[in-house]
C-alpha cells in the first residue's frame, strides 16, 4: 500500500494555490506538511480525503485491489471537531465509531477515551469540554476505528504538553503498524520520523 501523488494542482475559489506537486508515502511512513498560512495544507489534505477537487494531476492509493475510495480508507481530522454539544462525550465517540462501521462496546469506547485521558469526562456533555479536551475527543476516534490512512490537519492545536505526547505516541503506533500518515503542523511534534513537505515551494507552479 502506497499513497502516490503526481503533478497535483490545487485551486480554491478560482485562485491557484499550488501546482506540480508530486510525492509518495509508502505504508508504515508519514509525511509532515509544513508551509505558511494559506500555502494549501488543508486544501491538500481535503483533496486526498476526496473533499476537494483535483484541478490537475493524479492521486492514488496503490496496491489495493478492492475499489474503496481513499476517503473511505482515511481518517480526516480537520480544524473542526465534528462534535455535538447536545451529546455526551461518550455518545459522540460511540456515534462516529458505529457510523464508520465499528461495532464497539462501551468498554472499547471508554478505553479509547482513556488513551487521551478523557475517561473521567465520559459522561459529561461535550458542551462542558475545554478547547483542548474537545480536540482530544476528536482525536480519540483515530485508533478506535482502524483505518490505514490518517490525514491530520494541525492535530496538536490546543493540546497541552502531555496530550501532545499522547498524540505523538498514537501517530507512532499508527506508522509502526504499517499505516500511512499525513499531518500538517506549524509546531513540531516529536515523532519517530521527520520527512517533511514544504508546500510553499509549490506555490505559483503550474502543473
Amino acid at each position: 500500500m502506497k499513497l502516490i501523488a503526481k503533478d497535483l494542482e490545487c485551486q480554491r475559489g478560482g485562485r491557484h494555490v499550488f501546482g506540480g506537486m508530486s510525492f509518495e508515502v509508502p505504508a508504515g511512513s508519514g509525511l509532515l506538511l509544513k508551509g505558511p498560512n494559506g500555502s494549501g495544507k488543508t486544501s491538500l489534505l481535503r483533496m486526498i480525503a476526496g473533499l476537494g477537487d483535483i484541478a490537475a494531476g493524479t492521486l492514488e492509493l496503490d496496491g489495493l485491489d478492492d475499489e474503496l475510495t481513499i476517503g473511505q480508507r482515511a481518517h480526516y481530522v480537520a480544524h473542526q471537531n465534528a462534535l455535538k454539544t447536545a451529546m455526551s462525550v461518550e455518545e459522540n465517540l460511540t456515534f462516529w465509531a458505529r457510523f464508520m462501521g465499528v461495532a464497539c462496546s462501551s468498554v472499547d469506547v471508554r478505553e479509547h477515551l482513556a488513551r487521551f485521558d478523557l475517561e473521567r469526562l465520559a459522561g459529561y456533555s461535550a458542551a462542558l469540554l475545554s478547547a483542548g479536551q474537545r480536540r482530544r475527543l476528536a482525536l480519540s476516534r483515530l485508533e478506535l476505528v482502524p483505518r490505514p490512512v490518517w490525514l491530520l490537519d494541525e492535530p496538536s492545536v490546543g493540546l497541552d504538553a502531555a496530550s501532545v505526547e499522547l498524540l505523538a505516541a498514537a501517530m507512532r503506533r499508527h506508522t509502526e503498524g504499517g499505516g500511512i500518515l499525513l499531518a500538517s503542523t506549524h509546531t513540531d511534534l516529536a515523532l519517530g520520523f521527520n520527512d517533511t513537505l514544504d508546500l510553499s515551494t509549490f506555490a505559483g507552479r503550474a502543473a
Binding site: 476526496g50 480526516y76 464508520m100 462501521g101
Partner: protein, 222 residues
C-alpha cells in the same frame, strides 16, 4: 443497516434534545392554533370549515421551516464532511436524515393534528382521514425537504431559495392531501384516489430525492 439505525437514532436524539422535532412542531402548531382564531375571529362555523386546510398549511410550513436543520448544523461543525467520506453511501445518509426528520417533525404533527383539530372544532368524521393523509404526505414532505436542504446547504440566501425551490413540489401534496382529508364531507369517491396519489408521490420522492440530494451534497463538499 445497523449503521443506518444508529444514524437515525442520533438524528432523533439531537432534534429532541435541541427542541426541534416533536416539541418544536407542537409549539409551532399551538402558536398557529392560537393565532388563527384571534386573526380571523372566533366564528366556530368558519373555523370548522378552515380547519383541514389550516392544519395542512401548518404542517407544510413547519416542515419547510425546519429544513435548514437537516444538514445545516452538520455542515457547520464538520460532521457532514466525515459523513461524505464514511463507508455509508451518501444516498443512504440522506434517507436516514430525511426519515429522522419525518419521525421528528412530520409524524408527530400528523398524530397531533386531529387532537388539536378539536380546538378548531374539526368535524370528528375527518379525524382518521386527516391522520392517514398527513402520515402519508409528511413522509414525502420530509424527503423533498432534505433535497432542498442539500441543494442550499451552506450557501447564502439559503433560506429563501429553499422555500422557492420546494414550494412547487409541495403544491400537489397539499392539494391531494386536503382533497383526501375533506373527501368524507365533500366528494367521498375522491378519497381513495387522492390517498393513492399521495402514496405514489411518497414513493417517487423516496427514489429521486436521496440521489439528487447526495449529488448536491458531494458538489458542495468539493
Amino acid at each position: 443497516m445497523k449503521t443506518f439505525l444508529c444514524l437515525v437514532r442520533r438524528e432523533l436524539v439531537l432534534t429532541l434534545r435541541q427542541g426541534g422535532g416533536a416539541g418544536m412542531a407542537l409549539g409551532f402548531f399551538l402558536t398557529v392554533l392560537v393565532l388563527l382564531p384571534l386573526g380571523i375571529g372566533p366564528d366556530l362555523k368558519l373555523l370548522q370549515r378552515l380547519a383541514p386546510g389550516a392544519l395542512w398549511i401548518t404542517l407544510l410550513l413547519s416542515v419547510l421551516l425546519s429544513t435548514d436543520r437537516i444538514f445545516g448544523p452538520d455542515y457547520e461543525d464538520g460532521s457532514l464532511e466525515l459523513m461524505t467520506m464514511g463507508p455509508m453511501p451518501l444516498e443512504l445518509v440522506v434517507v436516514g436524515k430525511a426519515f429522522a426528520h419525518w419521525l421528528g417533525t412530520g409524524l408527530p404533527l400528523a398524530v397531533l393534528a386531529p387532537g388539536l383539530g378539536v380546538l378548531l372544532n374539526l368535524d370528528s368524521a375527518l379525524f382518521l382521514p386527516l391522520l392517514a393523509a398527513m402520515v402519508l404526505g409528511s413522509l414525502s414532505l420530509s424527503l423533498l425537504a432534505s433535497l432542498g436542504a442539500a441543494v442550499t446547504v451552506g450557501i447564502r440566501k439559503g433560506g429563501m431559495i429553499v422555500s422557492l425551490l420546494i414550494l412547487p413540489l409541495y403544491v400537489p401534496i397539499l392539494i391531494f392531501g386536503v382533497a383526501a382529508t375533506s373527501a368524507v364531507i365533500g366528494v367521498p369517491e375522491l378519497m381513495g384516489p387522492s390517498m393513492l396519489i399521495l402514496a405514489a408521490i411518497s414513493l417517487v420522492s423516496l427514489v429521486v430525492a436521496p440521489v439528487a440530494a447526495a449529488a448536491a451534497l458531494r458538489s458542495h463538499m468539493t
